[in-house]
Amino acid sequence: MARIVILIAVIVLILGGLFFVLRPDTPSGAPRDRSFDLNIEGGEMRPAEISVNEGDRVMLRVSTDKPIKFRMHGYDIEREVEPGRAAKLHFEADITGRFEIEDHESETELGVLQVRPR
């Protein structure tokens, strides 16, 4: 019995120590204001991936070469965007995860929004 207790204690020590050594610092500082210009051309969005941290206030400027229904999963944001008139979208990144961005009109995937936890 004593042997098992010692073994468990050693394992807890090793794993606990490893956890603190390996775990990186969380994204530092307070939530920031982030803004992105998204260009959709020929069904492709540039950049295709937006990565922000939890709590950031995000502003997207979306321009397109043909009319689309810009839709972002998770945050359930949907906006019709016309060519020649960039649309501005604001939201606070309070849900963590990886969310699809699609054109709800043609049901094609444009890219992803990745919100990393703090």
Binding site: I4, L7, I11, G97
Partner: protein, 502 residues
């Protein structure tokens, strides 16, 4: 026989046709998980290696196998529970609900809206496949009770008997013993392919057609070989949920050995009729037990494993891994650079897993100094120890999916066909995202996989004590098994750490 050959040929043909557009194959509905970060992946791998010593140490002094001596509590001893759980209203109601849902899925698939609102894809791929798998592993196996094909067969047979046909539906053709559980292995491979490779797997009409085709196969199998034989060896979902049910913290047991006379599968003589649903169905109320037990112990029980039993476990493990592998950049490269297609992958991966498994079992047997029964017995016995790894990976991979996509069913029950109905007033329900934050998802995924790994190591060791009957030899035989488990576990973690690609 002829019809079967034609069906098989048609299936093979359709496999190649469908593989012509592998572009968007995987899955149904998006998942919202971020891949686990590298440091956590490394941490999980380290934890898997270090924690494996606990089960090894626990066993080092134990003399004999204690597979049957685990604490259990008979729920039927609690009178109100017994009344509730054995009431006709509950069991009959569940069976009726199951058959009703089966018909709803088929009807929705055939005549419901084909793009957009339709209950068939969500119910089949999320609620039933993922939801019922989790329920079976975490609570208990309901499938023998609610299996719609069994209920349909039973009612058809009851009707025939009432009409004066004494023999019922069963032709009772002899089942070739060597065939064992291989029909279920084959059907499971087809199922994995349908789920992951076939690009039309979530089109409602295809789901209905697959369900109807499978209904034909199952009813035919039950009529031809006998209901019990086919349910145990050929009906792939009975085999699948039965496997998960061995992990479950509940079991059904028959006390009276007389009930098990003539049963080929349970060890009834020694009062060891555990989760033998056929015997349970035959037993009278006084002979039945519904026990709570520690999870996973059912996988260590010595049982007669039919031919193909180990292959089935490997196919399940490879199947869940394949699902994750398809979304990794590595897989994309493999498909781009080699002639391997998605379909070929669905066949090659289980073969690779099986080969690795058999190799390590043989190594373990040699290190343990051989043993009675030879290689086959060892290969069959150890397979069950891998089940916790498969379950843990399945849960880590799917639980957020179930939590988020599963909510869709709330609105779909009100409008199953997409015809604008609102039967229960829930048609406008909007799913809520972000129920679990990404950080919690990471830690729980790694924790699940590591726990599954530790259980697997524990089970393998317990099985080795049974096979070798000597603690020192058993300990030695476990070194290769340990490496095997670590290998599988690190693969699972690695997949969860990969960037997701489409």
């Amino acid at each position: 026989m002829k019809t079967r050959r034609v069906a098989a040929a048609a299936l093979v043909f359709s496999l190649f046709l469908a593989d012509a557009h592998p572009a968007l194959a995987h899955g149904f509905g998006p998942t919202y998980d971020i891949p686990i970060p590298l440091w956590l992946y490394l941490y999980g791998a380290a934890a898997a290696v270090v924690l494996a010593f606990i089960p090894l140490a626990l066993f080092s002094r134990k003399e004999r196998d204690a597979a049957y001596r685990y604490p259990r509590f008979d729920l039927f001893r609690v009178r109100p529970l017994r009344t509730l759980l054995t009431s006709r209203l509950l069991t009959g109601g569940l069976r009726l609900l199951s058959v009703a849902l089966f018909f709803v899925v088929v009807i929705a698939g055939l005549v419901g809206l084909q793009s957009g609102f339709n209950i068939a894809p969500t119910f089949v791929w999320v609620t039933w496949l993922v939801g019922l798998s989790f329920f079976t592993a975490l609570v208990g196996n309901l499938w023998p009770l609610v299996n719609p094909w069994k209920v349909i067969f039973d009612s058809a047979e009851g009707l025939l008997r009432r009409l004066g046909l004494r023999d019922g539906l069963e032709l009772g053709a002899p089942y070739p013993e060597a065939l064992g559980i291989w029909p279920a292995v084959g059907l499971y491979l087809v199922f994995v392919w349908t789920e992951n490779v076939f690009s039309g797997s979530y089109a409602p009409r295809n789901i209905a057609l697959f369900a109807l085709a499978y209904t034909l196969i199952t009813l035919y199998g039950m009529a031809f070989f006998g209901k019990e034989t086919w349910l145990r060896l050929g009906e792939v979902f009975s085999v699948f949920f039965g496997l998960l049910g061995r992990f479950a913290p509940t079991e059904v047991r028959v006390k009276d050995p007389d009930v098990c006379l003539g049963c080929d599968y349970c060890d009834g003589e020694a009062g060891r009729c555990v989760n033998c649903y056929e015997c349970f169905a035959r037993a009278t109320a006084a002979e039945r037990e519904l026990n709570l037990r520690p999870p996973a112990v059912g996988l260590a029980l010595p049982e007669r494993v039919p031919p193909g039993g180990a292959a089935f476990v490997i196919v399940v493990l490879a199947g869940v891994t394949f699902d994750g592998l398809l979304q990794t950049p590595l897989w994309l490269e493999i498909v781009r650079l080699t002639p391997i297609t998605q379909t070929l992958g669905a066949i090659l991966l289980p073969l690779l897993f099986f080969g690795i498994y058999l190799g390590f079992v043989e190594l373990s047997r040699i290190l343990g100094g051989g043993g009675e029964g030879g290689f086959r017995r060892f290969a069959a016995a150890y397979a069950f120890s891998l089940v916790p790894i498969a379950i843990a990976y399945q849960m880590a991979h799917y639980y957020t999916y179930l939590l988020i996509q599963g909510q869709m069913i709330i609105s779909l029950v009100s409008d199953p066909l997409g015809w604008g109905w609102d039967l229960f007033g829930t048609a406008d329900f909007e799913p809520r995202y972000g129920i679990v934050g990404a950080g919690v998802v990471w830690y729980s995924q790694v924790a699940l996989i590591v726990v599954g790994h530790v259980l697997a190591v524990y089970l393998a060791h317990s099985i080795s004590l049974r096979l070798l009957r000597d603690p020192v030899r058993a300990f030695r035989s476990q070194l290769p098994m340990l490496v095997l488990m670590v290998l599988y576990t690190i693969t699972s973690l690695w997949i969860l750490a990969q960037p997701i690609v489409k």
